[in-house]
Subunit: 308 residues, 2 copies
């Protein structure tokens, strides 16, 4: 575990400065319009991460919406029902839709009272579409399958915090295979992470963590997750050094998704899976917080690492 | 108006070939997982369009969700209520959310019956966040303000057609200013469009068009739109030469958004607005349809134009 260096007590740019210089507000907490200067850094981070991509990884990109059936099958609803965004629409006939619009236009009520759930959700994480794709590939090879997937994610947790967006981008390397290969994959990324953060000049530490599982039973699941070391996070000071922000995570799902999608190793066992996730917006905000709102003034080594 | 060249009667790659080689299905019509080979072209198109960007354009990028209040204020609901995706969520207390999940888990019903509309919609077009940003800039200068905006858009029109996605990416150059400057902006893009399509080796023609307004009154609005030449589209054969696909559009909104957001020109009149929209996914699919599913075998001039 790396500790935060002593000189990194206070981020250089405040949340207020970052919001003012790099975003435009939308009126909705945790949803911002992004400036070109901000997007340049998100794109540079994308290229930086591509250079870290494991050899042979299959590349996929996901749209911001995902099949509801897929997320239901993944068991997401049991763990994080409070975070899910469901795509709903006015689905009646012309008269019914007209009535909803008239009600809204006349100020008599809300048109949204008539929307119905579609077969789509907003993607809560980038990796879910990968598991059925892996299942289609057949028995996993000894070194496992590796994928590079990214997409816009949504979690319904409105917040004024600069590091907690409702809509954010996630990039993941996902490995699917036998338990030893998958654990080694995750270990190797935990071992590499300090160098990755270091190349970007980001103070950091790595800690065991838990996901924000729903409800009282969820809190027990979270404690189990920590006890079993199923999740580690790379933490970087964004709002403060006291409460650093998880900007990468290293997740081991054991055979949960292998069983769900019937992905098998050559010895017939359910495949294990793991992923290393890069929070692109959190890393970008961490860069601005650490090095200042003006990317042209960032340390030369950081600019070089990002190809700026 | 340019006509489709005679040699361009049939796209080289079929919709089936494109789906098979460049996408993975999600089980939902018009929502696909994108391969790396496909995304390479979408990214190359992005860089190609950046080189066309008007000097001085302010760059913004939008997340896939947008404030519901913004879209309601824009009048979208009157015109296209049937296309809107509303973000809904389980918003009750712990017991209520638990009940919804239990109902689903036990097979007794749908958890989605309990979701409620949030303050967010899926963005139906990229340009809407620009108008309040323009309003904040104050009186428009003689040549107008110009913006470069892009984002993931959603329209609820499930289809098996390769050129009609529910989730797709749109890039727009938006101009805001006096009527003459804005009309000249749009005219200049209509004049440039054949060269743009030509550089990409895409057979094309430009036609007056109308948006898919809702209902019977909407059909009248659509006829008015055509009669007033408020919308032109660049059409490219994707599914067939007989029914070419709108891949760019050139839209003149007159003073609709200027009035709505109180954007004023220096003589105190409501500003006019226009936009040129690039359908990034449609252009990418058009490239594969026209030149084949293997980008390495595309004509050298097209590859050069795209920086491949």
């Amino acid at each position: 575990m790396t500790v935060l260096p002593p000189g990194a007590a206070t981020p250089l740019a405040s949340a207020e400065q970052i919001l003012e210089r790099l975003f435009k507000p939308t009126g909705v907490p945790g949803v911002h319009i992004r400036s070109g200067a901000y997007e340049d850094i998100v794109e540079a981070l994308g290229r930086f991460i591509t250079r870290l991509r494991p050899e042979g990884a299959e590349v996929y990109r996901a749209p911001p919406v995902v099949s509801r059936a897929l997320i239901e099958k993944a068991g997401y609803l049991k763990s994080f029902p409070h975070l899910l965004g469901c795509v709903c629409a006015l689905s009646g006939g012309e008269a019914q839709i007209e009535a909803a619009v008239d009600r809204f236009a006349s100020g008599a009520g809300r048109w949204t009272d008539d929307v119905e759930a579609t077969d789509l959700l907003l993607a809560p994480a980038a990796c879910y579409p990968i598991y059925p794709i892996a299942a289609e590939l057949g028995t996993t090879p000894p070194q496992g399958f590796v994928f590079d997937i990214a997409g816009d994610c949504f979690r319904r947790e409105p917040s004024q915090d600069i590091d907690r967006l409702q809509s954010f981008r996630m990039r993941e390397f996902v490995a699917v295979g036998g338990p030893e290969a998958i654990q080694a994959f995750r270990e190797s990324w935990i071992a590499r992470a300090p160098d990755i953060a270091g190349a970007l000049g980001l103070p950091h530490r790595i800690e065991a963590a838990s996901d924000p599982f729903f409800g009282r039973i969820g809190q027990m699941i979270g404690r189990f997750q920590v006890a079993q070391s199923l999740k580690f996070e790379l933490l970087i000071p964004v709002r403060s050094a006291q409460s650093p922000t998880a900007c990468m995570s290293f997740n081991y799902h054991r055979d949960q998704f292998g069983l769900t999608w019937d992905i098998r190793t050559s010895d017939g066992e359910a495949a294990h899976t793991a992923c290393v996730a890069f929070g692109l917006d959190r890393l970008a905000v961490a860069l601005f917080a650490t090095h200042g709102v003006e990317a042209r003034q960032w340390p030369e080594a950081v600019r070089r690492a990002l190809g700026l």
